[in-house]
Each structure stands twice: as C-alpha cells, then as structure tokens.
C-alpha cells in the first residue's frame, strides 16, 4: 500500500511525471529552435548548457525571476491567477499519453474525450488570458485564437476519429495495440501507413494551428499585433505562459505519435520488464522528434496566413475533406 503510494508519487512528480514532462517541454523548445536555426543556416542557441540544451530552462527561470507588472487596465484577479494554473490541464493531459509502456499514467475508457476537452480548454484559457489583459492587441490576438479554435476543431477531431474507428475504442492503449504487428511482414501497422496518412496530414495542419506556430501564428503575430494575447504578461505569469506553450507542443506531438505512429511500439527483441519500458521510451522519443522535425520544416517553409484565409481555407477545404474522409472510412469499415 505504502509502496504503491510512493510509486505513484514518484511517477507523478519525478518520472515520468511533472519534472520529466517539464524537462521534455524545455527540450522540445530547444529542439524546435535548433532545427529552425539549422534550416536557416544558423547555429541556434548553444551557450546555455551543452549545445544550449538548457536554453528553455534558462528562458523560463529568467522570466520567472523578473518583476511582474500588472497593468491597470487588466482584470486583476484573472490576470494574476490564471497564468499559474494554465499549464496544469496540459500536464494532466500528458499523463494520459503512453510513453513508457502501453498504458499512460492515467487511463480510462474515454481517453480521447479528455484529450479533446483539454485541447479546447487550453485555447479557452488563451482567450481569457488575452481578454483579461485589457489591451487592444491582446484582444485581437485572443479573438484570432478563438477563430482558429473554431476553424480547426472539426478537422482535428475528425482526423482523430480515424484511429478510433480502426481500434474501435476511445482508449489510448487500445488504439496503440491496434497498431501492433506488421503488414506484409515488414511494414508496421501504424495508422500513418495507409489510408491514415490523410488523417495524419489533417492532424499535422490542425496541430500547427493549435500550437500557433507559423503559418498559423496569427494570434501572436509579432509584426502585426506585437505578441497578441501574451503581450501584457511579464515575470512569473509570462514564464508560466512560456511553459504552457512548450507543454502544449509536447502534448500535441505526443498525441500525433500515439494516434498515428504506433506510440511506443517497435521491435522488442524479446526484452521485458524495465528494459522494455526503456526501449518503448526510446521508440517513443524517436517518433516524437521525427514529428517535431516535420512540423518545424513545414512551419519554417511558409509565410503567415491571414486569419481570413485561415478560416476560409479551413471551412472550405479542410473540414469538407475531413468529413468526406471519415465517411469513406466508415463505409469501408475501418480499413
């Protein structure tokens, strides 16, 4: 009993809990910036820690140690409190992701419901954060954030439907297990290999929009609205917002890995126990970084779209495509 509690505490706080997740978030931030720089023939951050690996941590710590300014025009309570709790839903969401084994830290028959709910809640938090700072730029940023949520909600959810239909379950473990084994003896039965590639592309586009990375960085567009909804935050609040954005990246990419790339699955070589967990984690991170690199290349190769173009494009292309696709999949009976 005691040891169970101890294990749970260890899991939730140290590994693969909050501490680890935050490290992963900072690592992803560093990785993103490094790849982004590399694509532009630059070196990228390399002074904080080995190869600049601690860059995300340094940014967080520095921002957190700064003075916090609350503008007079802001909604005092929300402005102070909400940023601090903003990262919490995403951390909870990441607990659902099976990284080390086939089962996440939290697992329920309706994992996907929770994940979609958390994705929506995060955007809602952004909108409230932007609105409560009481600046016009923030307000525009928040409204753009909302518009993106509305536009990309359907493609995102519909792209997630494909793995669900294939697995016949809303549970992430079932979805992962449905991707086990190989076709033709060598091709893994991941969702991305096959018809699911359409769903994967839809998911990547929606994921970029959710992450607010270019070309969908309109809510924070620096050259237009000077930082959007994050504009007024400083000090500790802004540090938490930075953390939230990094965590969001971990979360969204992890979902992609689990739903389309078979999560932690891979050749096991007959290893079991802790070794297997480690191996699973290695596979998971390899896939994770692959998706991260793909996302970075896409986002660095495109110019920022206008919010009108985003909404228009989403409703007239992505949404119909996703609907047709899902109907097709249902008719074919979850190929």
């Amino acid at each position: 009993m005691i040891s169970d509690i101890a294990l749970f505490l260890f899991q939730s706080i140290v590994f693969p809990g909050v501490f680890f997740i935050v490290t992963l978030a900072f690592g992803s931030n560093w990785m993103y910036r490094k790849i982004y720089a590399r694509l532009q023939r630059r070196v990228g951050p390399d002074s904080a820690g080995k190869y600049g690996f601690m860059q995300g941590f340094a940014d967080f710590l520095k921002t957190a140690s700064k003075e916090e300014i609350v503008p007079r025009s802001a909604n005092q309570v929300i402005f102070r409190v909400l940023p601090i709790i903003a990262p919490v839903p995403i951390i909870v969401g990441i607990f659902f992701i099976p990284m080390m084994g086939l089962r996440g830290m939290i697992s329920s028959p309706g994992d996907i419901y929770a994940i979609v709910f958390i994705l929506t809640i995060v955007t809602a938090i952004e909108i409230v954060l932007g609105w409560s700072s009481g600046s016009k730029y923030s307000l525009i940023g928040a409204s753009r954030s909302g518009m993106q949520l509305v536009s990309f909600g359907i493609p995102l959810i519909f792209s997630m439907l494909y793995p669900i239909i294939r697995a016949g379950s809303f549970n992430l473990m079932d979805i992962v297990l449905a991707q086990d084994g190989t076709n033709f003896g060598f091709l893994p039965r991941w969702n991305v290999l096959g018809l699911g590639v359409i769903a994967f592309v839809l998911f990547l586009i929606s994921a970029l929009a959710e992450l607010e990375k270019p070309p969908f960085d309109t809510p924070e567009a620096e050259t237009e609205i000077a930082g959007g909804w994050t504009l007024e935050y400083s000090g500790r609040s802004y540090a938490y917002i930075l953390l939230m954005e990094d965590l969001k990246m971990v979360f969204v990419i992890s979902i992609g890995v689990v739903l389309f790339l078979g999560g932690p699955l891979g050749p096991t070589f007959g290893i079991s126990g802790w070794g297997l967990a480690l191996l699973y984690f290695v596979y998971f991170s390899l896939k994770y970084f692959m998706v991260l690199i793909i996302l970075t290349i896409i986002s660095s190769g495109l110019a920022r779209l206008k919010i009108r173009q985003i909404v228009f494009g989403s409703w007239s292309f992505l949404t119909p495509i996703s609907i047709v696709f899902i109907i097709l999949v249902m008719v074919l009976g979850g190929v």
Binding site: A37, R38, L39, R41, R42, V43, I293, I297, G301
Partner: protein, 124 residues
C-alpha cells in the same frame, strides 16, 4: 523548391561564425574605418583634424607640464594634442585624410563596447 532547400540546409554546415571565439570567415578589410591610433610622438598639433571633423569630436587638449618637457626635436612647437571622443565619432576618416604627418590613423580593429564613456577616448 524551398522544402528541398530547407532539407538540404538541415544537413549543411551552418554559415555562422562563432564570434568572438573564432573570426575565420569574417570580413575585416584593410580599408575598414574603426579604432583610431594617434602617434603623439609625431603629431605636430596643427589642429587640421579638429577643424575638418564633421562631427566636432576631436578636441585639442593642452599638453601637461610633463608632456611639454618630453617633447622631441621634431615636435618642438607642439602645444596641444588631439583627443578623440569615440562615442560621438562617425568614423568617416576625414581626420586621417587631412593629417599632414600621417600620425592619425584609423585601424580595422572594431571599437570595443564599454559602459564607461571615459574609456572610449583616444589620445590621452
């Protein structure tokens, strides 16, 4: 295509030069107009540079007692010496052009930043 270019870039060596740790590949040409050197030994104190300076940053400072004593035969009549305020200098090189004894020169060493204006003076 940009995507191909980007993927190529991913595996290319970055073009970054890790200045100040390395300087290979950076351009510091001979003609670069940066830090001044004043050879006070051969300066005759003619004030030409001060008069020609478009930004009025060259101040002719009277020599101190010691410096007056230390004058050599060549600069016997010298009473003032140029002092350049680098914080206002526009590095146009006019002073170098007008100097009759070639004692004032602009080198290609960049002027190091400083938090102290006193440090950014040449000639003292």
């Amino acid at each position: 295509m940009l995507i191909i270019e980007l993927i190529k870039n991913l595996f290319r060596r970055p073009e970054t030069v890790k200045y100040p740790y390395e300087t290979e590949g950076l351009n510091f040409p001979e003609r670069l107009r940066a830090l001044h050197i004043i050879d006070q030994e051969s300066c005759i104190g003619c004030r030409k540079c001060a008069r020609a300076c478009p930004a009025y940053v060259i101040e002719m400072v009277p020599l101190t007692e010691d410096e007056l004593e230390a004058r050599t035969e060549k600069i016997k009549k010298k009473k003032v010496k140029p002092v350049i305020d680098l914080t206002a200098c526009i590095f146009c090189g006019v002073c170098e052009d007008v100097c009759p004894t070639d004692c004032l020169n602009l080198t290609n060493h960049i002027v190091l930043p400083s938090g102290d204006k006193e440090e950014l003076e040449v000639g003292d």
